[in-house]
Symmetry: C2
């Protein structure tokens, strides 16, 4: 079965908004054995809408639309689909009553125009909306299925889960999509590609998407298969080979983010951490505290932008800053060890660098970053020259700092000094 | 003139990637007087591609495609458009030479398959690609224009700027899109809507998009107009009325982010700031240091997750934490005043709260946040009960903390204690 997703809404044709519902819908549909072959984004002009839905019927067995079910003149999805299929709209009394009740519950009277939300396409199955006023609709016609969903993301999700999923799971093809989600840190996209691409020919049924993000590189191998056991075996085997190729650069194989892996490592080892960061400006602490429950291992951090704060709060000797410079191996080490001692943590992580665009010199250009990790015995340090603009440099520096913690647990004896 | 944007690439039909090129293209096209009426996203299957391009020709005067110009078998955009228009592809020797040169410059020999990137549609204008191997193509046929662009964002942008913009600016209609970008903080989306929607009827030619983001609410009024002066007057007048309606909640009218407004205010007033944050976990410092040159006014911050760090690094009395709790008005005030003094800053900003999902109690549920701002004379404090999950609570708390600084400068005498 082939699906097309149509997102309806003039605001989706502005430079400010993307149709993000389709990511959720694609994921769900693929798992139900329905392959998304096309996505369309259309405004609320009747002609455009009709043209989009008509063309979708040419291409797809299932059309899933989001949006255009509101009460205003702009909300044209019901009319469009009714016109396209040559059907009438009728007011459903039961739906109307529920909408009125919903307004009453919030202490308001239903505005007249909301009665439009009770208009149902002849022959359609009503899909109750637990989170809003507009119900979804499921219309079958000439072997096609048209599913109308509201555009508000949490309404769409709840409605899909409760009403669409059970119906489609009976109809979807036996072939479903199975995937893995590998996270990699410490290699550029091209290097990852080079390491894993020889595997593509070995697994011709697996399609692999590679994705470079500010959080590292992601690999998404995927296979359409009617046999879950076989799909799992193929993917596991391929992931195993990918792991061997990627070595210590592989962070996780089930989509865990780097900060989640670190959370696991610190928790398992009953260790705590504190950070002292300059050029990352709080991003390192932010990433560590993103994980719920991080207060169990994250004691705190210092964002020491000024030299005075580096000395006052972390105890970096002012003479060291003066002689070596704030961005130097020595200061990174002093930050790591200083914050570890002041916080009474197992580990201290120190970052100092130049995020740019200003502040660089020929000897110390923007992108130069020193990162140090201290435990009670020693401090290991690494120097990076990172590419990109201010935002990318801050992100890559954070990533590399977090990765230093991960690698510590993999190779505790390496890089000590 | 009406445009359709087609994004080509199977990876855009996965749950992992969105077509972000279309945001840039939409913005540019609207400013050139070309209205985007439809967007399509299609994989690299020849039939699907042909169907998409054919339907686009029905709807639009201009088709702008991104992607599918690479050297592999999957890159089918040239073939699709040639087939659709009934034209041949020919190898352009000049383009081929440039591609070979490009490889030579990077010390490599051009792989044979890259010769495909020199295939040009009969009658097409070649659009040189300053950033990559695949040139763009501009094809006219029966009053339609089809523009083929590479999918790599920075190549697409550079090529559009240099080659497409000058050509389209001669052709686009006299009506161009004029916009404003208002940022609002301190109101929910529904409240903003209620305050500004009475203006919609007064300005029937202006279409306003409202957008709720983790960075606050945005309002984008826009008007298609052939007279820039008139468009400016209408928008200015409407924005003026919106400003009156929104009052002190209006952060900016030209798209400046809250942190940029604060950067201006602090710089103009030769003031410095330091922060002590708990539940926002570094996000507050991160936001402040996002702005290039922030080292001029941001001295540093402390992320004090543990009670010990609140006392050791910011001087919050342990007895106070014990008697009032770490999440309390008193501790927020002590954090703000403590970090101000320790950093020697004009302002100290303190945040303490419960981001959840764990850590809440019936008296102090997740979402409870105390924020305090200290200057040398006094400390003002505000209590918030924020909605949403951990990520939203952290974002809203950061937003409100930053906004407290902005409001201080607007109303320096308010809220002192």
């Amino acid at each position: 079965m082939r699906a097309e997703i149509i997102a309806v809404g003039s605001e989706l044709l502005t430079p400010y908004r993307l149709d993000t519902n389709s990511l959720f819908l694609t994921d769900e549909l693929h798992q139900l054995g329905v392959r998304v072959v096309h996505k369309a984004i259309v405004g609320d002009t009747p002609d455009e809408m009709l043209s989009s839905f008509r063309h979708a019927l040419d291409r797809a067995d299932v059309i899933v639309s989001s949006g255009g079910l509101g009460p205003t003149d702009d909300d044209r999805t019901r009319w469009t689909v009714a016109e396209l299929l040559g059907r009438k709209l009728r007011t459903d009394d039961d739906v109307l009553r529920k909408i009125q009740e919903r307004f009453r519950r919030f202490g308001r009277t239903m505005p007249e125009i909301n009665a439009r939300q009770a208009l149902i396409i002849e022959g359609a199955t009503i899909l109750p909306n637990p989170r809003g006023t507009a119900p979804g609709q499921w219309v079958e016609s000439n072997g096609h299925i048209v599913i109308l969903l509201p555009g508000v993301p949490h309404e769409l999700r709840a409605l899909f889960e409760a009403e669409v999923k059970p119906r489609l799971s009976k109809l979807g093809s036996a072939q479903r999509l199975f995937t893995r989600d590998l996270r990699i840190c410490g290699l550029f996209e091209s290097a990852v590609e080079q390491l894993v691409s020889p595997l593509y020919a070995m697994y011709p049924d697996v399609e692999t998407t590679i994705l470079a993000t500010a959080r590292g590189i992601e690999l998404h191998p995927q296979i359409w298969c009617s046999d879950p056991v076989r799909a799992g075996q193929i993917l596991d085997e391929m992931v195993e080979r990918m792991s061997l190729a990627l070595g210590e650069n592989l962070v996780s194989t089930r989509g865990e983010a780097l900060e989640e892996i670190i959370a696991q490592l610190l928790t398992e080892n009953r260790a705590t951490i504190a950070v002292a960061e300059s050029c990352t400006g709080g991003l390192l602490a932010e990433r560590l505290t993103k994980v719920p429950g991080s207060s169990a291992y994250f004691l705190g951090g210092v964002v020491c932008y000024s030299n005075e704060m580096k000395s006052a709060l972390v105890g970096v000797p002012p003479e060291m800053i003066q002689s070596k410079g704030a961005v130097s191996e020595e200061v990174a080490r002093a930050l790591a060890d200083g914050i570890r001692k002041r916080a009474g943590a197992t580990f201290g992580l120190g970052v100092t660098g130049i995020a740019g665009p200003g502040g660089g010199t020929p000897e110390k250009p923007a992108g130069l970053v020193h990162i140090a990790l201290a435990d009670e015995h020693a401090v290991r340090e690494k120097k990076f020259q990172l590419p990109g603009d201010r935002e990318l440099i801050r992100n890559f520096a954070t990533l590399n700092a977090l990765d230093m913690v991960r690698r510590y647990f993999l190779y505790p004896a390496h890089g000590k000094s």
